[in-house]
Amino acid sequence: MKRQWAIIAGMALVFTACGLWQPYDAAAVDLMARHMPPSWDHPLGRDHLGRDVLSLLMLGAWHTTIVLVIVAGVSFTIGALVGTGAALAGGATETALLRTADLFIVMPQLVIALSLTSLFGLTPVTAGLALGIGGWGPYAILAHGLARRTMAQPFVLAAHALGVGRAGILSRHVLPNTLDTLLTYLASDAGRNVIAYASLAFIGLGADTSQPDWGALLFEYRKFIFDNAWLMLWPGLAILATTLVLHLALEPSMRFGSSVRS
């Protein structure tokens, strides 16, 4: 458990550092140096505008971090509130809240996010908000299930019998017992959100094309598939490395060489 959070914290730190410092100005255009292959000074080469690819990718890492933090915040907050609230409320309110969550599961996250970002423009902040709004459904269902299970435990019934109010049961018993699983699910969702954000930027509705997002860069570099195909390798590898680290950090049961579950 500890190892997983350490890896995530380390990654957040590295990505934040990427946002604070890049070896070159990512926006600096030098048309004389178009499509320069990787060299000692520019380890990943320079793109069709002569920009340093490494610096662009580093800024992209920072944007991805912003998106991940916002998506996590939004979907976790809405999901936990609705799910736990439904479990506490019970009755018709519970049904109504859960059906609303179902509604957001039925509608594809990417379509909701596409519509919202084409509405408000595509920046890391709006993309994070849009993906969060499109993706909170599963969290609510999970939070509800966990809260229901906790509330059926004898110690919660005992607390109830002793006259502890709803707020007390929520803060002392339900949340401490559900938060761990919810947070783990949240983190295991991060890789999927990295790809979802890259997809949004790749499709590029409402995007500012000068923004160095991994998905947007890939969309740009895809045009050079015939003569400079190495260029489109980098953004993809950046996404792949991020999702792979997140995946291996968070799903130890799926790790290579781990014990086999039956």
Binding site: R99, M107, A198, L205, G236, T243, S262
Partner: protein, 307 residues
Amino acid sequence: MVHLSRHVLQASLMLWGVSIFAFAIIHAMPADPVLITLVEMNIPVTPENEAVLRTEWGLDRPLIEQYGAWLWRFVGGDWGRSFRTDLPILSEFLQRLPYSATIGLGGLGIAAILALPLGFAAACRPGGTVDYLSRALSIGGQVIPAFWLGLVLLWLLAVELRLIRPFFGGAAEQLLLPTLLVGFYSIGSLGRVFRNELLAITVQPFFRTALAKGLTPETALRRHALRHALFGYVAALTPECAWVVGGTAIVEIVFAVPGISLFLVESIAARDYFVLQAYVMVVAVWMVLIHGLSLILRALLDPRTRR
């Protein structure tokens, strides 16, 4: 039967909710389709011209009336006309649906069949080479961005090796790569599902008896576990079909497949209200249908779930 009718009622309520949401989100968009269309068609933007279009499209009426009129006609099969192409949206969808269905269902079908030998081989030797391979495929399906893998495959097969001409050949040549790509994204997880279904049976006493008789793991699995595992596999396969419509959007865009998702993206860019509404509804109806189908299938295959 009571159970089934309750599900139908719930599904209809949910679709109604989706329709409200779809209508609301679209009408919240700040861009005005009337202005966009007038500018695109080089018609002078005068109040008169605006009013003509607004009346024709019914945009001058109160929102609640617009919603009611749209829903009524939608259920009746009149999905309105696209602002952009001026064609009936229903026929646009029907024209594009075969492309989306081919890459979605085709890819899933290929994966579903290939996952059987993969899962079986993985279950024969848990922890063996094939098991690692299936695990790697499953992880790969989750961590490799589809649009990037699509581009790399394009580069490798079309540019370097010149094996296919994805954008100039016939429909089959165009749809081959996207279909295989969708298949790649399902085969790993489906293989894992089948493997786990098989392994779940190996702990049963009757299976241990089979091994104790001296059967090799392969024979024991084939004779005593395969049929049980297939039931679970089919039940797990049905929900997978849910994302076939709507979930392959990014693949359609990379390979310029003229399917419904590409249509959607073009329409969102042009603020084509009714297309977006129709798309959300199509996806939601499909999801609800698949969900219902998987419930029925589960009940047919496994009497224990019939309550």
